[in-house]
Symmetry: C2
Subunit: 390 residues, 2 copies
């Protein structure tokens, strides 16, 4: 059993939106395909993956460091003979050989794209959906038949603030979402509070609405916002401050009854361990949001969940960032709290299987082998085209 | 005043050595040249830089993200009219635009290479050595006429352990070094203690010797090593544990009288702030070792020094990693504790000006405009050749 080739390509996912910190008009992601010599249904098994949105393509690191190390390793060391498929943990170790500790940034995104493709191939070789494999290996055979999904969005609409925001949220409701997230921090506090009230007119209940500051605030501003928002009983306040300012998180968690959510900009078990140790996050109300396709992949995400478990965190308080099918497979197979989704942006990479709708805030896992990318037809066809499969 | 072009190239710096964590046989760095339309001595000013060793070349991030943003910015926003030269802080902000918070890894190395070239050009336009510019702007005009340098090395020599190590250390003494560093953690404790005793036979005094575990140990092992080494009165114990395990640093600093040194694998002011806040490091005996060419450059290093200053750290306790002339300029101009050097490895990029020797453990700053790279003739000629200057 052998990995015969690793392809990658850059996909453009420009979007006219901006959050409180960056604009997305030049955003790119790396696509990855891991080709094997294992034949299933008459064809070699190919695993597909991509780096998640927000952090740009990583072709340099994939081509110059990570992919060559996998292809140079002894194939016998990269498969799990007893399981009859690839060994994603061994492949992860091979691609990370001769990498120094610390520095968990772009390398983590490159590794995340490859690792996603490796897990897709690993599940396909077994003829199982990835969530089923995760359930069997890491969740005592349990899984969730339905997974909470929430919509990331709630952008600013200069010139038509109320109409634009409410229209977007009504569209999300029409698509089946119940819990919806909106941006804050791109306007003065009073204006953001008006926007929250407009959003609540559509969301109905505070528990159907979360807010996201994208790490923009200093501690003073975050405290002021938290106090102003407490009365709305919102589901969470996401990335109130710089993701690495653990002390600010601790002060905030001590000072407010609002649930705090963060993690999409932490990319290693070391960084999450520091958040858990030093960030004062509360295991009963706060949320951890790793993006498995950015933080060195599902392989490192399993370590993050283990570390959090040992620190008293229920898996139900983990809700992956990224709005992709890997997050959905993890949520269903590992019993997480849910997963993000981006209706309307980062197309065609955001969202889940074409024919499995969101109903009353939940979606269902798929039933084909692997991650299920073939069930997103436009995305899958673009991935094949950009990576020059014929 | 305008940056007209940014070149980069990959240089191979293979080395047969390995530390406790990685081998260096495929190590590369990125070279950078920032070309301007400013004429000095009849020729356009060009600034040169490179990413430091240990973290690989970063051509993808330089070419796809950072360099284009600088070239697309309005040149008027990138120069400092009052000072009559480029504005490295504005250029840094331009190259980091549309980058999300967190994730301080490979991006930091790419930025470090560009930022080094920008500061080289900035000082050349003023006709000043970089250390002089730093002294004037950030050190009330004070500078050091001589800078402590220590040798990084002390490798393992399989089959000729004692002879190999002592020969290497004698060569360092012959080159003028007094304080020398050696690797530990690549052998069992008893063997490492023997190696320390062999090294002390050459170094003479424990204060002339530091040890480096390259972040390999878990806390238990680091504690055991620290207790075993206390009797040698060594200068410091470097990277005892994972660079991001602040709690382990705090336990270690509480438990041992040995000075602890770390920082080469922290790459942002946020990460150093966490070390200072949560790592229990002692301002009177421990050491901070940022690598300015890896941690987003001199520009971010100034922020790190400011943060440390506000937390009670003297600049004398900062000793840059990397063994390059940027560290030497910073040490001389900002009044740091010294800088690292690698006699014999990472050639030709390690080390200082060809004609300025190390004497009794100290070297002197240079007197030409910029960082002084032109004074390392073999390095400078290789940089010009690899970046295809004619």
């Amino acid at each position: 059993m052998k990995i015969t080739r690793i392809r990658d390509a850059v996909a453009k996912i420009p979007s006219p939106m901006r959050n409180a910190v960056i604009s997305f008009d030049k955003m790119t992601i790396s696509l990855v395909a891991v080709e094997t010599d294992v034949i299933r249904e008459g064809k070699p098994v190919i695993g597909y993956g991509f780096c998640s949105n927000g952090r740009y393509a990583q072709s340099g690191i994939i081509r110059e460091r990570l992919a060559p190390r996998i292809l140079e390793a002894d194939p016998d060391d990269l498969s799990d003979e007893a399981a009859g498929t690839l060994d994603p943990h061994a492949i992860w170790a091979a691609m990370m050989s001769n990498e120094k500790p610390g520095g968990h940034g772009d390398r983590a995104f490159a590794a995340g794209g490859i690792d996603m493709a490796v897990w897709d191939a690993t599940a396909k070789i077994l003829g199982q959906p990835l969530w089923k494999l995760l359930s069997d290996r890491y969740n005592d055979g349990k899984h969730d038949d339905r997974v909470l999904v929430y919509s990331g969005g709630g952008y600013y609409y200069p010139g038509k603030e109320k109409q634009g925001l409410q229209d977007e949220m009504r569209q999300c409701r029409a698509l089946g979402y119940k819990l919806m997230k909106m941006k804050i921090g791109g306007a003065p506090l009073a204006e953001d509070m008006k926007r929250i009230e407009w959003a609540l007119e559509v969301a109905g209940d505070g528990q159907n609405l979360a807010v996201d500051a994208n790490g923009r605030f200093d501690l003073d501003t975050a405290l002021t916002y938290a106090r102003a928002m407490e009365k709305y009983n919102l589901c969470w306040f996401e990335e109130p401050v710089d993701p690495l300012d653990y002390l600010a998180h601790a002060v905030l968690c001590d000072a407010t009854s609002m649930p705090i959510a963060t993690g999409e900009n932490l990319f290693s078990v070391q960084d999450f361990r520091n958040l858990v140790r030093h960030g004062g996050m509360r295991t009963h109300i706060d949320w951890l949001q790793p993006d498995p396709s950015l933080c060195y992949g599902l392989t490192e995400s399993l370590r993050i969940l283990d570390m959090a478990d040992r620190a008293g965190w229920s898996r139900r308080r983990a809700v992956p960032h990224g709005g992709h099918q890997l997050g959905l497979n993890m949520a269903a197979g590992l019993g997480l709290g849910g997963t993000e989704s981006y209706p309307g942006v980062f197309k065609p990479y955001g969202g889940f299987a074409d024919d499995i709708p969101v109903v009353d805030g939940y979606t269902k896992p798929h039933n084909t082998p692997g991650i299920g990318m073939e069930l997103k037809r436009e995305m899958f066809s673009e991935m094949r085209r950009l990576m020059e499969f014929t």
